[in-house]
């Protein structure tokens, strides 16, 4: 099973998260450039992605934008990979974090999503 995960970072980063997504077997779509967090919903829509991860100082702008424009189920203001895993398990489709560009986050969130989708498919 392949999952596409969109990553948008306010400061144009997110490469480490993308590496983590890839390492866990997902397909990352890293939005380039500053202000990318605000485009997560748009790119998810264009790419048909299953999950979006947005990063900004307070961890909310990209997530609420995705909810307002596309009705995604969101969690925001998160500061750890574990919080992201819990959000995925609860069925959130856009996750808003503070500035956390870590491979661990990308890996664990992808792993949780794959596990959830496999369970739903069985």
């Amino acid at each position: 099973m392949t999952v596409k995960i969109v990553i948008g970072h306010r400061l144009g980063k997110g490469q480490a998260v993308a590496d983590g997504v890839r390492a866990a077997g997902g397909e990352p779509v890293l939005i380039p450039g500053p202000g990318a967090d605000m485009k997560v919903g748009d790119v998810m829509d264009a790419e048909g992605a299953q999950l979006g991860i947005s990063f900004c100082g307070s961890g909310g702008a990209g997530a609420v934008t995705a909810k307002a424009k596309y009705g995604h189920d969101i969690e925001f203001g998160m500061r750890s990979a574990q919080a992201g895993v819990a959000a995925v398990e609860q069925g959130r489709t856009v996750l808003g974090f503070g500035f956390l560009d870590s491979e661990e986050l990308g890996f664990k969130v992808t792993e949780a999503l794959l596990k959830k989708l496999a369970k739903e498919a069985s």
Partner: protein, 131 residues
């Protein structure tokens, strides 16, 4: 006391694990008008989406102030993205909210809020050029 923007924010994050509380509403009712006055002074218009993004940032900010939490420092080069004079003006508005609460906001808070204004200003500039 509340405003349509605060209620829109409350609806948007209502089913998250950290919905808007009465304490949040009280703080946002004080803080958001300060931000609005600054935006009007600079001639920056916020569309619906940018307003919501600013509001959710403000929500996280007022919560940090209440629990005396400070964010890690950011790359100082980010300041180069900000229009001249904006950092000082945003510092004034941040301090207007924080000082009565005994919270000494670090430059990171000022920079993050200034980036919201800068993004809105740049979007407005792009839109007016396309029109």
């Amino acid at each position: 006391m509340t405003t349509p923007l605060i209620e829109r924010l409350a609806t948007t994050v209502g089913d998250s694990s950290s919905p808007v509380t009465d304490a949040d509403r009280a703080d946002l009712t004080e803080f958001l008008p300060l931000a609005q006055v600054y935006a009007e002074t600079c001639g920056i218009g916020f569309d619906d989406i940018r307003s919501l993004a600013l509001a959710v940032h403000a929500l996280a900010f007022v919560r940090r102030v209440r629990v005396d939490e400070h964010l890690d420092a950011l790359d100082e080069e980010l300041g180069a993205e900000i229009a001249p004079g904006r950092m000082a003006a945003v510092r004034t508005l941040v301090d207007a909210f924080c000082a009565p609460r005994g919270f000494a906001a670090h430059d990171t808070e000022v920079l993050l809020l200034a980036l919201h204004f800068e993004a809105a200003a740049q979007l407005q500039h792009q839109t007016s050029q396309q029109a």
